[in-house]
Amino acid sequence: MNAPFVIAVPAKGRLQENTEAFFARAGLNLVKPRGARDYRGTVVGLDGIEIAYLSASEITQQLAAGAVHLGVTGEDLVRELIPDADTKVVLIEPLGFGFANVVVAVPQAWIDVQDMADLDDVATAFHQKHDRKLRIATKYFNLTRGFFAAHGILDYRIVESAGATEGAPAAGTAELIVDITTTGTTLAANGLKIVEDGVILRSQANLVAARTALWDDAARETARLVLDRIAAQARARAFREVRTRFPGCDAALLAEARTRYGVEAPFGDPTSSGMVTLHCPPKHIHALAMLLRERGAETVTVADIEYVFTRDNPLYARLEAALP
């Protein structure tokens, strides 16, 4: 019996729901055979995969340690918690949920501060005037340090803040903050504004692979299988299937649709009778349908695609490139 292939997923909240929905769309149904309170699960119909339900920061640490093979976690945590992250993990694919920006926010009253260069100057002046440094409340020590160093800002101190960071300036425990925000509403409610070029990271949930996990042949095979399904699903979601048949449908028209709408023809050019199957990004569906009818089509059908399996497996290729 081989060691199991472990996928770590968030243990609670919206992140768990979104993650389970994401895997389900890829035909990977996560179940907890021993009940909802269990923190171990499996995938229906796939042996040898163990699902570990953990907190997002634990997932990140387990990935860094190579204790799990794949995991779902935010890029903010990857960049914050793993030194030299790119040597330890590979970000395989952004998942389109769990959006959050890590930003530098200062009091709205600081009308003299618009960008990081202003903040740099204020930090220096503050240090001279008050005989202490500006304090930044955050839980993102490493991201803050890296970002401030990149802007050449020296005169600041970090104050650890585990929660309700945006309240720190009003509470007088810090002058400004570095925190995550989705809409900025909470920041505004606390009298804070985002510094213009102060977005440190645009983060979202990612499918992440641990480079230092045990990647034997069995593990690679399992990863290939899982990533094949995810890729097929991701590709399917990126397109709608468009079918039509009319005499004027030829290679030239296809070329035009390709350049205008990013259309692909997975099965090649139109047949001699002008029959074709196209994959079209959802946002261009109506424009494409209009174009095809203008050029002579009587009927155009559009359908959702369940999966697109291709010979290549771009997600697995990304993983394999990072493994020894």
């Binding site: 009091p107 204020v122 340090r145 020296l154 005169d155 101190r157 009298g191």
Partner: protein
Amino acid sequence: MTSNESNSAAARNAQAEALVASYERAGYARATPLLIQPADPFLDLSGEDLRKQIYLTTDAAGEEMCLRPDLTIPVSRDYLASPQAGAPAGFCYFGRVFRAVSAGPTEFMQAGIESFGRTDTAQADAEMLALALETAAHYGIAKPEIRMGDVGLYMALVAALDLPPAWKRRLNKDFNRKTSLAHDLDQLALRSAAAKREYQGVLAAFAGTDPKAAHALVTDLLSIAGINAVGGRSVAEIADRFLEQSALGATNSALPEQSRAVIERFLAIRGTPQEALAALRAMAGESGVALDGAIALFEQRMAALTARGIDLSRIEVSTDFGRGLDYYTGFVFEIHDAAAPEADPLVAGGRYDELLQRLGADRPIPAVGFAAWIERLASLGSRA
């Protein structure tokens, strides 16, 4: 550990103890600070960037503590806590320091000296370099490379330039960045040239108005908008800087070309102390910036070094040396292996007159000192 290794460690320690005994004979009392120190003073003085290089932990009360990354701050703190605080006093030390680096050893032996409270600045500076050279000689390194700088010269230059306070602030801070100053000067010049400010019109309207009235108006506007000052900066402070920006914007001041040329000319000065002195005098005379005090100190230090029998022609001075070296305020030096000038220094030191105040002293106390890297010295000593 093999017996050979433990023998060599014992021999290395005995050699370093002999070195420290020579410091004691020179009048420096042996200090033995604790290994575990509060982290705050280190982070405060060296910046948050140090955080990734030190071993942090917390005590039972949740205070951040660290394994000492150097001995200067611990010795200084012990001195300030002692009855001697404020009075002239000299200390020497020999002990372990810890740096969290990803490759290679993480603990090092350092020996060194801290001299507090001496007002004969040039003499004290010269004595430190002399003792540092004796330290190298103790390990059989007779002709090391000596690099010397003086942060005080740059500070005096910036103070003497005819520039608004905001510019001086930036230029002073810039000296402590670890990037190229030329690049930063470009950035500073470009930045102001591109007037991209949202409030540019408002700022321009303020230009040339009575500063008091403008200040009152900005303060009133903020309070009308119902914006309370939060987080340590007062409304007056914000208004001040807002108006300062308007002054900068109105004169459309990129760093004036003339000032920039003076700074660049200054930073290009290098050579022996005699050559540097001549170049400094010529520069000061031709550009009309008054550096008399700083140049006089430089000259006194040269005389004191000569009086101690140090051959000045062996010293390489460069005016930009000392950039990015944390808390130095004046004289700075490094002693290198002449055969491997690119390697890390064997001994490094200088003057840090603001350190003790930043550690809590109620008045300025002059301070100068150096630290020697024992493993580096010993490995060269065994080669000799």
